[in-house]
Amino acid sequence: MDQEKLSRLYAEGKTLLPLLIIVIIVLSMPYYFRDKSLSLIGGESYNYARLAENPLKNYDELSYGGRFLVFNAYPLILSLFSRALNIDLMDASKTLPIILGIMALMLFYFILKKLETDKLTLFLACLILAISPPFVYMFTVSNTYIIPIILALLSFLLLLHDKKTIAYPVFFATIFFGIAPFLISLALLTIYSVKTKSYKGLYLLLLVLLLLIPIIKLGLPEFIGFDNLPEGINFRMQTFISELGGEIGLSIFAILLSLFGLKQLWHGKYEHIAVYIAIATLMIAYFFEIRSLLYLNFFISMLAAIGIVRLLYQKWDSVIINLIIGVILILGLISSIIFTIGTLANALPNKDVIDSFAYLNRESKENAVVFSYYVKGQWISSLGKRKNVMDENFFYAPSLNERYNDSETLLHTKDINAAESIINKYKIKYIWIDNTMKNGQVWNENDEGLLFLLRASNKFKRDYVNDYIEIWKVVG
């Protein structure tokens, strides 16, 4: 390697290294502060860890009481990663996202560099991304969006380097991680293709997609006839902003800064139209798929960095105000990440949840069906290793709407006959209830619906209880 290359590498390292150190620290924090007796965060991460035990299986006997499984490459990658490093799947589910997070940051860095972003903006954009709540969530909690985002970033980097022959296959690989991430990436690629007027690749991609149609013998998946998120627009707003309690929401300070960034971009009028359209597309997509925020976050980070640079270089009439604004912005961004780390560190499942499923696993028969609110379904199948009636994996789920309606009836009915008929229909043996369900997620009162029946009817016996969980056995 000649001297020039070495010095360039050294210069690159000088900017990248602090960023990498920061991202490693930030992404390790949630697990560092999490109770050591607990393992993963959320339900999805446990589910993928379970599926990774047998990643090529196309039938899941525990989800929806047994269902066909649409192939998702994420459990396979998790399994390969676990074998390659010789670590168990739980550790793999913690480590893989962090490693991919580092990769994502590097890819973002090189994309911005290729776009000839100035050094300060580049550094700030990466820094804001590294400490943004959606980024920390995405690369801490093992989820299916991690790899499609990496692939999308990689294919965009390749496209920027004019390596289309590699870029399109890389991009196409996102389809193996779910339809939603693929469609989001496709929308972004379309915007890029229109902007660069390179339609060939896009046509090719659509052609390959058409070839896939005969392969799909399953027919179209059942459309969800229910809203799987509470309270419509208010809830959307709440989840959009991290400070309002949104788990993967954007920081309000990053949003404010990005507005300054947008104003700066607007100086070039329609020169950056692709960016505006991409942001608008992702905002619209957000109303259908919350996780499109994970993609939007990259744009917001970039715009926020542009906003900060604009603020730094604009003429300041008051140094004190300048200084205070700077401190507030730093505090605001830091407070967002602190709250996010705290939330993730204390996220469910807690020890009570894990203990309750350990009990269920110990005491129940292997083919027992456990009923709960569908959000808890993945815990039932992953932690309890028992069949659930329904979980959050809706894609090609059997009789999805019927199961949802039955679940709702069972949760809210005070009519023992109606409850019994549903219990018999799904052969439910246990009912698992936690405090979140009792405090608004399902019920608001202690004597509402199923809660009333459980206490009033002799068809149910409380089998297990701790501070957070109740498990009722169907005895009648």
Partner: protein
């Protein structure tokens, strides 16, 4: 000896101060039941040095958010001078608004007479007097701080006012969520300046940004928990929908005119017209405050009386422009010979339309809304004769008397923030006053763990009842206290 302008302003301040103090000192009690929550906080601060962050008595226990700065200031006076000291301090703080409105009016008109008239109007906005007379409310300090902030914004190029602005920019969001309203006003102000092509000074632009950022930062730091628990209902302070709609029910334009006062409204509108015509950017900020208030009132995001008070004070200040233009206009007409008579008539008009209604209203408040000695007896009885852990059901307004005066748990009170299902609690608790079925009532009594029910004269009148319809069963409901129409029923089954 020539009277200086400042002497007149000081006289107006003294007049407002004495007026408020006179009515406040008529009684040892407060005219707003929510004041008893404040009193409890103040007493707690005086004793422990910090405020109650977890209220065990309200709704069976809930977190208290924000920093009640006013309570800290009043705690100092309370510990030195007792309840009367607290009243004096409270009146002193709210009366100081006269000086602030005067200096703002002077700044925007440079006309002393007009500014004096504006200051006089601001002291006697009827709804402002009714809502802040003889009570402990954070608004006593919030309103002066808002207008002081505005004044310091005007003069932000000067170092002293820059420091003052920065200090107040931190103080206001710490004191009250109304800071979001001011932040919103500053955004509207920037838009107005942009639309009207007014080049705004750089420091002011920075100041707007600073205030918005500080408000968001502090707001989210303090109210994050509330946002995550009750979501966007925080904006409505989680007030049950029924109460919100009740507070706007039966409101008509005539009421609004009377509450704000004809003079501030008339001259305020006139002032607004001239300010827009002359592109007076200082007045634009006040207009922005009015626009924000109106938008929030229309969207019912702001409590009706708070919105009107803010509108009233702001219009009083803008009215200075109206007075200025009116008086200048008179001087160029044939009426100029009678200018002093006109000025005098204007004062008489202010007295008739603002001071007199305020005075009559104040008499009514002290007579009708203030707790009498007889009304206190039941709460003292509860304090002395019930178990410390008892839960008492009283009507919504009296909830703070149960916690503040009787020191017992209330089923519900007016502090709704962080209360889950506030709508349902409100509906069920109020239904206990009118319920007919004993079974249904007992179900709710068990649910809320109620030990006593207090029926005041107001409660009986409000729900149009003479007694609890389901309370005939003596095995279950024992009347343990009766004093005239006031009674306390113990749940014994």
């Amino acid at each position: 000896m020539k009277i200086k302008t400042f002497d007149i302003v000081f006289l107006i301040f003294l007049f407002v101060f004495v007026f408020r103090l006179f009515f406040s000192l008529q009684t040892a009690q407060f005219s707003d039941y929510d004041s008893y929550y404040g009193l409890r906080q103040i007493e707690y601060i005086a004793e422990h040095g910090s405020h109650i962050t977890y209220d065990e008595l309200s709704y069976g226990g809930r977190d208290v958010l924000g920093i009640p700065l006013l309570f800290y200031i009043l705690a100092l006076f309370e510990s030195l001078l007792g309840t009367y000291g607290l009243k004096i301090a409270s009146v002193l703080i709210i009366s100081s608004l006269i000086f602030i409105t005067y200096i703002i009016a002077k700044r925007i008109t440079e006309n002393e007479i007009a500014s004096i008239l504006a200051a006089l109007c601001s002291g006697f906005i009827p709804i402002f007097v009714f809502k802040t007379l003889n009570n402990i409310t954070p608004y006593s300090i919030v309103y002066p701080v808002i207008f002081l902030l505005i004044y310091s914004f005007y003069r932000i190029e000067e170092r002293f006012y820059l420091i003052m602005f920065i200090a107040l920019a931190f103080l206001l969001p710490l004191m009250h969520p109304i800071a979001f309203l001011v932040a919103f006003s500053l955004v509207i102000y920037s838009i107005l300046c942009y639309v009207e092509n007014i080049e705004e000074n750089g420091t002011k632009k920075d100041a707007v940004l600073l205030f918005i950022l500080v408000t968001f930062l502090i707001g989210f730091l303090f109210y994050k928990k509330a946002f995550s628990v009750i979501g966007l209902s925080v904006i409505w302070q989680n007030i049950p929908a029924k109460i919100l709609s009740e507070s706007f029910k039966g409101i008509n334009v005539f009421d609004m005119i009377i509450n704000i006062g004809i003079v501030p409204l008339l001259f305020g509108v006139l002032g607004t017209y001239f300010a827009i015509k002359n592109k007076n950017k200082d007045v634009f900020l006040l207009i922005s405050l009015c626009i924000t208030g109106i938008i929030l009132l229309i969207t019912r995001l702001l409590d009706f009386s708070t919105g009107l008070v803010l509108l009233g004070i702001t219009l009083s200040i803008i009215a200075a422009v109206g007075f200025d233009k009116f008086l200048k206009y008179i001087t160029i007409t044939k009426l100029s010979r009678h200018i002093n008579t006109i000025k005098f008539s204007l004062i008489i008009f202010i007295i008739i339309t603002l001071i007199l209604p305020s005075m009559i209203g104040a008499v009514g408040i002290i007579k009708e809304s203030t707790l009498t000695d007889n009304e206190i007896i039941p709460f003292l009885w509860i304090k002395n004769n019930t178990a410390l852990s008892s839960t008492v059901l009283a009507d919504l307004d009296e909830g703070n008397l149960i916690t503040g005066m009787a020191n017992r748990k209330s089923v519900f009170d007016t502090n709704f923030l962080l209360v889950k299902n506030s709508d349902k609690i409100f509906e069920e608790a109020t239904s206990l006053f009118t319920a007919e079925s004993e079974i249904k009532a007992l179900e709710l009594i068990t649910k809320y763990d109620i030990d006593y029910i207090y029926l005041s004269e107001n409660t009986k009148n409000k729900y149009n009842i003479k007694e609890l319809k389901y309370g005939m069963d003596e095995k279950c409901f024992e009347k343990v206290f009766k004093d005239g129409p006031r009674e306390i029923i113990k749940i014994v089954c």
